[in-house]
């Protein structure tokens, strides 16, 4: 299925949840959806026969400056050989998004990483802890407004 058709099907099935689609003239066709419907949409994309998105290639957090964070899901269907990107935009002040760990187990560690580096909280994740940084690190480094703490456990951080 081409990205256009995937977007049409999503718009029909989830009216109101699909906020924006960009499929023409872009290298990476994407669909922007509401953060509180992500899990349902992903379940549909995985289980529906014509879609069959059985693999989550990548889940990344992005910091769109201006008080907005985003989560980008790159989905791939090994069976049907098509791809789509799902985007979610959330407020930096209250970054909550639904977790898709129950849909693809890949998301477990990817969401932990997004939480670790951006501070995005995923509702429904079984074990949301920091993964790359030490458990007691303060701050979310990949945010654009991040300033490094002066000291960590008595060691001077910036040198």
């Amino acid at each position: 299925m081409i990205p256009q058709e995937i977007c049409e099907t999503l718009k029909e099935k989830f009216p109101g949840a699909v906020l924006e689609t960009k499929t023409e003239g872009v290298l990476n066709p994407c669909v922007k959806v509401a953060p509180d419907r992500v899990r349902d949409i992903c379940l549909f994309l995985r289980d529906e026969e014509t879609m069959a998105f059985d693999s989550l290639m990548c889940l990344s957090g992005v910091d769109y400056t201006g008080g907005k964070l985003g989560v980008v899901y790159h989905l791939d269907s090994m069976k049907r050989n098509h791809k789509i990107t799902i985007k979610v935009e959330i407020d930096a002040a209250n970054p909550r998004c639904q977790s898709v760990e129950s849909v693809w187990k890949t998301a477990n560690w990817h969401e932990r990483e997004a939480y670790d580096l951006f501070g995005i909280l995923f509702d429904g994740h079984s074990d949301l802890r920091r993964i790359l940084l030490p458990d007691d690190w303060e701050g979310f480094p990949l945010r654009k407004d991040y300033t490094v703490a002066e000291y960590y456990h008595g060691m001077k951080v910036p040198y």
């Binding site: 989550l56 790159h74 480094p141």
Partner: protein, 387 residues
């Protein structure tokens, strides 16, 4: 016997307090077999592992943050090398292909052929290291040295071409940093001719050794649907019987011009998807890479490898996600450009990060010795897991 202990000991990530007969043992960051700084917290009952909680991040070097602060897209390439330092060419290739798609650059034919040759040599070198260290984890010390002896020849070829043995900074956006030396085709051809019989020697020594098979067959079985759901890729996925290789299923560069096979695990000595299957997929992939090499060196066209390298890289505000098949699996680069000369966001999807997340599921119920076998068969590089 099953009573909980007086003051329940909880371990973050484990989910329930420890019982009296359970013990937490730490395969700490420093351990001869964890292939880098990886900490595995094992909850064991005697020799049997009840649960395992991996702790990563010891080698986190903030690649993604650095990439955002580079003044230039080209400057990110040495950082890419250092992620999967065992297979640096493949990392560079992935990033270069992603940026070229972003900028809509078409590289010359000569560059494509040389890139494929370098990537396939790197695949052989990386698999040799994986096989050698896997043998060493299982206890056979000699194949490790034989594999390294052969890997030296590949590193010599790299050193002659770009001056570096491990971290090359060779594959640039739009081309290569140096052209290959004049005897390159002969050297690679000699290597292919030398190396094919060595695979037989390796098979005699390790692959079909009864003790090796006892240690790896039926150990760490990963069913195909679980592998796909966890996002496994590379030999881990192919070992479970799924015939999926990005070089054929989602081709990039000029891989569609070469004839080669995709080996998968068939459960020849045990179940489909056990450690032996993942291991034999790597051994057979080496043979297939030799095929590709022989086809490629016969057909390198002439040309200038630096003609398409752009003077200034300033892509429009767009984004791209490109994935390539490295020796470890599917390496993805998600690059968001904002119209300036430096990237806005570079997200790397490392294959070993995802493959490592399957480790707890595979090792519940296995013994401690099996945990080492399973970890070795996944073939992780902590530089890539942590970036």
């Amino acid at each position: 016997m099953e009573a909980a202990i007086e003051k329940p000991v909880t371990i973050p990530g484990f989910g329930r307090p420890l019982r009296s007969h359970e013990m937490v043992i730490n395969m700490g960051p420093q351990h001869p077999s964890t292939h880098g700084v990886l900490r595995l917290e094992l909850v064991v009952d005697g020799e049997v592992v009840i649960d395992m909680i991996p702790h990563i991040g010891y080698l986190h070097r903030c690649f993604e943050k650095h990439a955002e602060h580079m003044t230039n897209y080209q400057q990110v390439i040495p950082y890419c090398d250092r992620m999967d330092y065992i297979a640096a060419m493949s990392n560079d290739l992935g990033y270069a292909v992603a940026c070229e798609k972003l900028l809509n650059i078409k590289v010359p034919e000569r560059v494509e052929y040389i890139r494929v040759i370098m990537a396939e040599l790197q695949r052989i070198a990386s698999h040799l290291l994986a096989i050698g260290t896997y043998g060493m984890d299982i206890g056979a010390f000699t194949p490790f040295l034989y594999c390294f002896r052969d890997r030296e020849r590949i590193l010599d070829i790299y050193e002659e071409t770009c001056g570096a043995r491990l971290l090359y900074n060779y594959i640039w956006i739009g081309g290569l940093s140096h052209d290959v030396p004049s005897d390159f085709q002969t050297k690679v051809g000699d290597f292919c001719r030398y190396f094919r019989p060595q695979i037989k020697e390796l098979n005699n020594l390790l692959t079909y050794n009864k003790i090796f098979i006892e240690r790896t067959a039926n150990v760490g079985v990963l069913p195909a649907d679980v592998a796909v759901n966890y996002g496994a890729s590379g030999p881990v996925l192919r070992g479970s019987g799924v015939k999926w290789d990005l070089r054929k299923n989602d081709p990039y560069s000029i891989y569609d011009r070469f004839e080669f096979d995709i080996p998968t695990g068939k459960g020849e000595v045990g179940s489909v998807g056990d450690c032996w299957d993942r291991y034999i997929v790597r051994v057979r992939e080496i043979g297939q890479s030799l095929n590709i090499l022989e086809q490629a060196i016969a057909a390198i066209p002439a040309g200038n490898v630096q003609s398409a390298i752009p003077k200034r890289i300033r892509p429009d505000a767009s984004e791209v996600y490109v994935r390539t098949e490295t020796p470890k699996g599917e390496l993805g680069y998600y690059i968001v450009a904002d119209g300036t000369t430096s990237p806005y966001r570079v997200k790397v999807r490392p294959p070993t990060f995802v493959n490592l997340s399957i480790l707890p599921a595979m090792s519940r119920g296995a013994m401690i010795a099996d945990v080492i076998a399973i970890l070795g068969s996944i073939d992780i590089v902590l530089g890539e897991v942590d970036r």
